[in-house]
Structure formats: structure tokens, C-alpha cells
Symmetry: none
Subunit: 414 residues, 2 copies
């Protein structure tokens, strides 16, 4: 009997792929030697899964919302809030958040003209640049800004009565004037006024900043303004822990997914710096942290990033290699799962090496544990999973299926 | 050609299960000898079906709404109305219905304190207790009450402008005061006022009732109040017969499903008392009634309860046995189906013996008849069905598929 057992959602990020010519038409997952994952496939129930819907390429953010049981079309309210979560900012329901670029502008006839939307793809000094701006209060609204990779940053506005239907300040082309954010409702206009004020302040603050004086000395375009775009209202997401009356933790390598997990109410397990989300991550430490989390929590979401990295690199051999290393490293975790534990092993989306980005291809999923049914599938892979007993599912089905197997699902009706 | 043939939805209640160790990892349905059902599987098209959605444990009420083609999330408006239908009450669209407990209260400082929420789990005399209350009119609202099993009852309010968003009178704990129902809108407040009056009346009526005088003599807690909870507005359900322009009947053993069938517009076929919904039900009489209904009606829904009973009992051997007896008893029905008849054979949900309750596991379904496709499936069972041609369906798909096979489906578009 499977009475309120543990649940593990084990995600090989971007693991699914398309047939690769240099792998004799196999996918990297099919070409990889994965005896441990194959064993799960052989003993569990397999299927194909569309993270969002057939053919829809999922972002890491929308895919993880779905895998945690949320309707991504309801809860995904734009890039801004999720970008801010991704860089580790504290985002709260009701905040309005933006993606931003550091850019280079020139004053001409009282206007600010965008000369370089990415400030020469600046890579250094961005933390120093945002420091004097982070935490300023404008019209009673707190403004938080944090640098992301290269020329990117995120802006979070926190205050009462803020709307998110505001137009972009970023004109999205060069030699155009910096736009003024605008909105239709009083709430949107309030946000627009704050954003416009923040953009002006960023120019006044950054144009003489030491980092920019140094850049100009070296002949580099100054990062003398911050251009927000993609406003989104941080959604009110009911916590997974409350929705299903359980404890939950995430073992994840990258900021965006960590941010989403935290936002959905999961504890985020601290990882040593060697667990870095790259191809050279410490897989042993990652698996050990996952095993440890399963001793303390009812639900654990684990995301290992390597396959996605290799997919983005377009490197089939590296993808095969990292999948094989993940499978090997997972052995002690899988051999010592708690007796009542049910597991879903899957990708969150495909990152085909031929595409070098996420695609809308379906991903394989295995459900395994004492209550799971079996089927005739013998290995963990795209085409094998397509013949499995679970047929075709959506990302949002994963958590309900695990809750059911773990005897934690509530009956609908009598 | 299958021109407007008959349709039979044959439901083995709770038949689906999980692998059972004592059955060598087979499910009871896989372990049972079912030559007649296997023949349907061999000659028809098979699939897995999620009554509501993957992983969601279905109630009998929500599952049958879905199998009759309704969106259960739209039409299932709470336990009250369906509980009342289940005990055989006349429930009409717009009625507000409640689940109730007989309880024991004591007066203290002008308050009524709940001493036992179940009146000592009273089993006898409840029909006599409700008799003086059934049919009373309060503030122009008719109140109907009927006893259910043990300490349970159902209350139906009928009148104009009643709302259903009212709080429970039942305080849900002992040594707490009886709560007063409350609501926010004028409609809800009207219902709340009637409920509060009814509860007071129940106390005045029951405290000196002969049944309670007798109970007190025997040292048993008196059932001296009725505590309603779980208010629900009886939904306006368009009748199956009107939606699809056909005649329809239900051959069912238990009250709740009988009530739902009637509410959806099906005639309910009277059955002899030997058809009792238990493991010792008269399966021959059940099958004969189903065959007879198919001579008179276009659509027949038949539900045989035994497998669910064995599942709730946690008795794998009894489940295998009753499945085998159902299969054998169905032979004359299946051999003599009308020539143009199409059939769906399925479970309405899983009731795994390991869980002893409904679970969210998918159920097998077979579509069979002159127009149905075939596949390679050779037997009626969970894992066999998962390899079938119909792949994975939802409960709501069953009736449209039968209507299509029976040439009764309307074209959507030109």
C-alpha cells in the first residue's frame, strides 16, 4: 500500500531531442548508455509528455509552473517577474517587474537617442552601475534593480495600486528616442510615471558613473541608461505546500528555476558552488542533496541542467556524454529511494542540438514506484516512451499523477 | 451501416486497480478469467480513460456526469445536491441542498453545545425522527429532509431566490456551539435564515421525540438536532434526451447514481430487491433488465457495483471473483445485443484494493460494435488497454464517441 509516500520529480533539463544524423538517427538520449534510467522505464509506466501543449516550445519558467501543477496560461504573467526571480530578486505577489537592458544613449535636441541597445554588450561593472539605483523610492514606490548576465537586468517596483499594462521604454531599435512608458488605467499610469522617473534617474546617475568614465577611456560605449520592457504583475500563486498539504523542496542549479520554486512555496536546498549548472557540475553532490532532501520533504523537485546546456551548444556528443554521466551519478539516489517513494523522471522540454534552443517536441516521462503500473517499454527514450502505457500527457498532469500514486490526491465528488 | 443504433455504456464500478502483489503483480481485472469481456476487447477498440483528468480520483457522481457527456467542473455544484439525489430525494434545478448529520446537543447558557456530532452513530429510528420535519414550510420555502445511512441525512430547500453560498451550521467539532448559517448576498441570507430556522425547529421537534426518549432510556445520546453543511445549488442540467434527441434509461444498483441518472434525464429502470449493489447481487436479473432496456431505449447506462465494493473492502480475491461472475452473467446480454448496438465497456474509476477508496488511476475502456475500429488488444485489462488504438481519453469523450458510432452525432460545421 502506498500511504502518503514521498514524491520525486526528477527533471533532466532539455533532455529530449530530435533524431540526429551523426548518431545514426537516434536522439542523444537514445544513443546514451543509461542503464539506471532504463531500469526505471522497464519497471514503471512510460509516456510522452507535452510540457505545455503539443508543439508549443516551453520556457524553463512555464514548464516548471506546469510540472508543479499550475496552469501556465493563468499564472505566467509575463517575462518581467520571472526574469527578476531568475536573477535571485525577492519578488512578491502584486509587484510589477520588468526586464531591462543597459543601453547607450546620446542627448540630441533635448531627446535621448538610443545609440546601442546593449551598451556594447557590456559584461563587467554592471553590479556597480545598479548599486546607487537599487532601493530608491519614487512616488512612494520602492524600486529594486539587479544586474543579470551581460547587458541584462531586472527591475521590480513594489507599492500599492500598481498596474502592469504599461508600454515599453525600450524603443526596440537604435537611433530612436527613448520612449515614455504609458498606461490606460490609473494603476497603469502610476506604474508608467514611476518607470519614466526611474529611467531619467538612471541616466542622471549613470552618465557620470566611474564605470562609464573608465569605459569611455577605453573607447567602449557607456552603459548610461536602463531601458525597461516586458512589464508583468507578479502573480498570486497558491503555495504547493498549502494546496496539497505537504512539505516540498527544490534541488536546482539555476536561478530562474530556483526563483520559481521558491515562489511556488518550495524550500530551496542550498548547494555547494561545485553544483554550477554547467557540463562540469558536481553530479555526485547534486544527487546527494536530492537524496537528503527526500529524507526531509514529501515532495522534491530536482533539476539537473547539463543536457540543456549541451542542447543550446548544439553539441550532440556532449549531450550524450552528460546524459550518461547523470545516469551513472543517479544510481545511488535511485537505489536508496524511500520505500514508499514515487518518482517521475522526465525532461522539462526538448532542447534539440539541431535547434540550439527549446523546441515544442514532446518529452519522455516515466512514473515509477510501488503503485505504478508497468508496460512493455525497456528503455528511457523518446521513441520508447511513445509506446508506453501512459500514452500522451501534459506537463500539468505530472503532479496529480504523483499525488494519486502517493495516496495524497483528494477525491472530486463522492 | 449503423444507422441510429442503440448505445450501451456498461460500467463495472471501480473495476480498475493497481498491480497486486498477491496476484503476481497483475490487477484483479487482469487476473480474472473474463472470456466475454476479452472477446469485446479483441473485436473492438481499446484505450485508457481518465474519468476526470489524469491523477484525479473521481467520485461516482462526478464520474457519471462525465460519462453522460457533462463537464463535471461545470455541473458538479457541491456535495449537497448529489447527496440528496443519492438518498432518492426529488431534487430540482434551483433547489439548495445540504448534507446533514443527526447530532447530540446540550443547552448551556442559552447556547446549544454539540456533544456528539454523530449522535452516537445512530442507526435506527432516523426515518421516524425526520418524519415531522419533512415538508415543513419556513418563510415560504419548502424544506424536505430524508435520512441516509447511519447518522447522515440530506436537506433540500425549494423556493424562489435561494442562494447557496452559506456557511455551515455544523461547527465540525465537538464542545463547540451550533453555528448560525450566514451569507453575503440577499439570496444567500434568505437561505441562511431558513436553514437557521430549520435547525431550531429540528431541536424543538426532536428533543422530546419518542425515538430519543427511548434512546435516553437505553443510555444512548439523543439525536436531538440536525446540522446541515456543504450547501450546493442544484444545477440546471440539460437533459441527455433533449441534448441528443434520444430515449435513455439507467440500470443501476445504488441511490447516488440512480439520482444522477434521473437528474440528467434518464428513465430509471426498476429492479427487483435482489439486485442490491452488493457482492451477492442478482447479476442475472441485472443483465436481463439491461437487455430489456436496450429493446426500448436508444441509450442505456448500466452500472454494476460489485467490483467497487470489493475494492473498498480491500479484498483482491473477492474482486477477482465478482469480476469473473459479472463476465459470465453478461454472456447472454452480449450475445443478444441488438444488431446496430454500440457498446462502451469501462470502469467509472479505479478502486484499488490497496487504497480501499477511489483513486486517480486511469481505467480501461473498450468500444465495440459494427462501426468500431479494431486493434491488437486481446483482453480487457489495464495494461492491455494502454496499448489499444483509442490511446488515452477522458470520461467526457465516451458519449460523443458512442453517438458518432451510432450515427447520432451532429456535424460541427458544414
Amino acid at each position: 500500500m502506498a500511504l502518503k509516500g514521498e514524491m520525486l520529480i526528477f527533471i533532466c533539463d532539455g533532455v529530449a531531442d530530435r533524431p540526429v544524423k551523426e548518431l545514426d538517427g537516434k536522439t542523444p538520449l537514445e544513443a546514451a548508455r543509461t542503464p539506471n534510467f532504463d531500469r526505471l522505464a522497464r519497471l514503471g509506466e512510460n509516456g510522452l509528455l507535452d510540457p505545455i501543449a503539443p508543439g508549443v516550445p516551453a520556457g524553463s519558467d512555464t514548464a516548471h509552473l506546469a510540472l508543479l501543477g499550475y496552469d501556465p496560461y493563468e499564472y505566467y504573467t509575463g517575462r518581467g517577474p520571472f526574469e527578476a526571480l531568475g536573477v535571485g530578486m525577492d519578488v512578491r505577489p502584486g509587484d510589477v517587474a520588468f526586464r531591462c537592458n543597459f543601453a547607450t544613449v546620446e542627448e540630441r535636441d533635448g531627446e535621448l537617442l538610443v545609440k546601442d541597445r546593449r551598451a556594447g554588450r557590456i559584461t563587467e561593472g554592471t553590479a556597480e552601475l545598479v548599486a546607487p539605483l537599487d532601493g530608491v523610492e519614487l512616488d512612494g514606490v520602492k524600486c529594486f534593480i539587479k544586474e543579470s548576465t551581460a547587458h541584462r537586468a531586472a527591475l521590480v517596483l513594489r507599492g500599492d495600486g500598481l498596474g502592469a499594462a504599461v508600454s515599453d521604454v525600450d524603443p526596440h531599435e537604435e537611433d530612436a528616442a527613448v520612449a515614455r512608458a504609458a498606461g490606460a488605467t490609473p494603476e497603469d499610469r502610476k506604474t508608467a510615471a514611476v518607470v519614466n522617473e526611474f529611467v531619467e534617474l538612471s541616466y542622471e546617475t549613470l552618465k557620470g558613473h566611474a564605470v562609464n568614465r573608465e569605459r569611455e577611456k577605453r573607447g567602449l560605449p557607456p552603459a548610461n541608461i536602463i531601458l525597461p520592457r516586458g512589464a508583468g504583475l507578479a502573480p498570486h500563486i497558491p503555495r504547493v505546500t498549502q494546496l496539497y498539504d505537504l512539505t516540498a523542496a527544490a534541488v536546482v542549479e539555476v536561478g530562474l528555476i530556483r526563483g520559481i520554486a521558491r515562489y511556488c512555496g518550495l524550500d530551496v536546498v542550498p548547494l555547494p558552488p561545485e553544483v554550477n549548472g554547467g557540463l562540469d557540475t558536481d553530479l555526485g553532490a547534486f544527487m546527494a542533496a536530492t537524496a537528503e532532501a527526500l529524507e526531509k520533504y514529501d515532495l522534491v523537485l530536482a533539476n539537473v541542467k547539463g543536457p540543456d546546456v549541451a542542447g543550446h551548444d548544439g553539441d550532440a556528443a556532449a549531450k550524450v556524454d552528460v546524459i550518461e554521466r547523470i545516469d551513472a551519478a543517479a544510481a545511488p539516489l535511485l537505489e536508496n529511494l524511500p520505500a514508499g517513494c514515487h518518482l517521475a523522471l522526465l525532461g522539462d522540454h526538448a532542447t534539440p542540438v539541431a535547434v540550439r534552443d527549446h523546441s515544442g517536441d514532446a518529452v519522455p516521462v516515466v512514473f515509477w514506484g510501488p503503485g505504478a503500473r508497468t508496460d512493455a517499454v525497456e528503455s528511457f527514450g523518446e521513441r520508447a516512451a511513445a509506446t508506453g502505457g501512459a500514452s500522451r500527457l501534459r506537463g500539468r498532469d505530472v503532479l496529480p499523477i504523483l499525488l494519486n500514486l502517493a495516496d495524497r490526491a483528494e477525491k472530486f465528488g463522492a
